[in-house]
């Protein structure tokens, strides 16, 4: 064999370690940074309308903000006793999101951070790593375990945690960067407390909307909520339904695998709330209220549009407040993109056409949850125009949430270069 054909020892070789819950977000998302460099680094604005706090590492801080000294004491005792999610109505043995450890980032964040005294709050440090790696200018933060609180039989827990979460956001996290955005958690089981929290936090510059955690058995059309919706409509900021899973619902207790419950549960609650919202003609009563539906994917949207359009023409007397077809009201609303059902491109294209994705669809990563979507989930869609991709990835959200179209993120090549020397996985 001639010398030039002989194998050589690579001098530019690096061995990469297995990903774990302790892996640095910048390593975990290295491939996303490379996608950003190749696919969308020149886009004006990337907005991620749904990312998550994993409360586990920060419960002790959140609990400190609870108004009730009794609940605060109880939560602190639970934490000291090793309960990882104090006061939360989740059964620890039913936590399957991380797929038995197969998707480690779902169990984090376990990574090291720099000294908070010089580099800021640990959560903000971790969030910024993810945003820079994915090439995101603005990211909206939602809780995770707290998404279940609507089913907690102790109403005062939701009220106390809602205020504690909002205070923690505006006092500890949002001041760290103008790129971080939050939404008010509405303790929706108590409309009066929800109104108070709108007044208290709704005017904050980095609070860009109001969240109803959709996992709950509350009819959103009930008269007790009309004053709340009026207040939110006056702020000009959107009302956001964030879906979630819930295995304890009687119908879902027939499902024997997490995948089955997860596939149906998120969509289920948004289907119910959207149906009540439309059939009771709330879009006619609150014409200026902007409504967003988060984390149910997209396939449910054309399904419900067709289903309600079909029924409403036959049963007008049961939906007399409507002046247009249900699908037309739904086309005025906004939807987050994740988890995008990307397997059948023809179906996805038809869905996006039907829902007017060009103006109504908002990119969401859901990072760091197990079914997250990077921005490449949009940029690699073959049927979208370049302008549609830009709209979905940021410009639609800028319009809806009143964000300046101004680049805030570093360039992808700089993100990759900055991490290059330190990358271990």
């Amino acid at each position: 064999m001639p010398d030039e054909m002989k194998p050589v020892r690579a001098d530019n070789i690096r061995e990469l370690q297995e990903m774990t819950a302790a892996s640095d977000t910048r390593d975990y998302l290295h491939a996303a940074a490379r996608q950003a460099q190749r696919q969308y680094d020149d886009y004006e604005l990337i907005v991620d309308v749904d990312a998550h706090l994993q409360e586990g590492r920060f419960w002790d801080e959140l609990v400190e903000y609870m108004d009730s000294d009794v609940l605060r004491y109880t939560a602190q005792q639970q934490l000291a006793g090793g309960i990882r999610a104090p006061l939360i109505n989740m059964q620890p043995g039913m936590s399957f999101q991380a797929l038995g450890g197969r998707v480690p980032h779902q169990s984090g964040p376990g990574e090291k951070v720099e000294d908070p005294a010089t580099h800021g709050h640990p959560f903000a440090q971790i969030v910024m790593r993810g945003m820079d790696s994915m090439g995101v200018d603005y990211q909206m933060i939602f809780p995770t375990a707290m998404l279940h609180l609507g089913m907690n039989p102790m109403e005062d827990i939701e009220i106390n945690m809602a205020r504690a979460y909002c205070r923690w956001l505006v006092e500890k996290v949002l001041p760290e960067s103008p790129r971080l955005l939050g939404l008010v958690y509405l303790p929706f089981n108590d409309p009066v407390e929800s109104e108070k929290i709108v007044k208290e936090f709704g005017g904050h510059k980095q609070i860009v909307g109001f969240t109803i955690c959709a996992v709950r058995h509350k009819p959103v059309h009930h008269n007790q909520y009309m004053r709340l919706y009026s207040m939110i409509e006056e702020t000009g900021k959107p009302l956001v339904f964030h879906a979630g899973p819930h295995w304890d619902d009687p119908s879902f207790s027939q499902l024997n695998r997490f995948i089955s419950m997860h596939a149906l549960s998120f969509v289920h609650y948004n289907l119910i709330h959207m149906t009540n919202w439309i059939i009771n003609a709330l879009p006619e009563r609150f014409p200026k209220l902007k409504v967003v539906w988060i984390e149910s994917g997209l396939a449910w949207i054309p399904y419900l549009m067709q289903r309600l359009d079909h029924e409403v023409l036959m049963r007008q007397s049961e939906a007399p407040g409507l002046k247009r077809m249900p699908s037309e009201y739904m086309q005025d609303m906004f939807y987050s993109s994740q988890p995008m059902e990307r397997w059948d491109m023809k179906m996805l294209e038809a869905t996006m056409t039907k829902m007017k994705a060009d103006t109504q669809l908002l990119f969401a990563s859901d990072w760091p949850h197990w079914d997250f979507d990077p921005p490449s989930s949009v940029t690699t869609l073959p049927f979208l125009s370049e302008q549609s991709k830009k709209n979905i990835l940021g410009l639609n959200a800028a319009k809806l949430f009143n964000l300046p179209v101004k680049r805030m993120r570093p360039h992808a090549k700089d993100v990759i270069a900055a991490r290059a020397r330190h990358r271990v996985s």
């Binding site: 030039e4 054909m5 002989k6 194998p7 050589v8 020892r9 690579a10 530019n12 070789i13 690096r14 061995e15 990469l16 370690q17 297995e18 990903m19 975990y28 290295h30 491939a31 490379r34 996608q35 797929l99 450890g101 197969r102 998707v103 480690p104 980032h105 197990w370 079914d371 997250f372 979507d373 990077p374 490449s376 989930s377 996985s425």
Partner: protein, 123 residues
């Protein structure tokens, strides 16, 4: 680019793997049952670092002759590597997803010379 030596074959546990970045090209070398396999570190789903995930036996649905199920069992023969981004699993020997064989990792040309693992990388 000439073929490159990336590791000593004797340094691999069985089952085991090492993942390498050679000048920006990332791939995983796996040892299973005494054989070596190499796959690009790129999940066909969304480009996640598929070779850097857990190595686990393939889960199977254990069905009896009378069609009743004993539930799930780990395979005694098939091992998967799991993409840590979203949980896509790939058979270490074939690189294919157990449910849909069309979803698969891309192979990297690799051979064992003496105790050297030698990989052919595209320019």
């Amino acid at each position: 680019m000439p073929d490159v030596i990336v590791a000593k074959a004797s340094s691999f546990p069985d089952p085991g793997r090492k993942v390498f970045d050679v000048g920006g090209t990332e791939f995983g070398v796996f040892k299973l049952g005494g054989q070596f396999y190499a796959w690009e570190n790129r999940c066909p789903h969304l480009d996640g670092p598929a070779c850097q995930g857990k190595i686990l036996p393939c889960a199977t649905e254990a069905v009896n002759e009378d069609k009743t199920s004993r539930g799930r069992e780990f395979s005694k023969t098939d091992m998967n590597v799991v993409c840590p981004w979203h949980g896509f699993e790939f058979d270490i020997r074939t690189g294919r997803h157990p449910t849909n064989n069309a979803v698969r990792l891309r192979a990297v040309k690799m051979r064992v010379e003496g105790d050297d693992i030698v990989v052919s990388l595209r320019d």
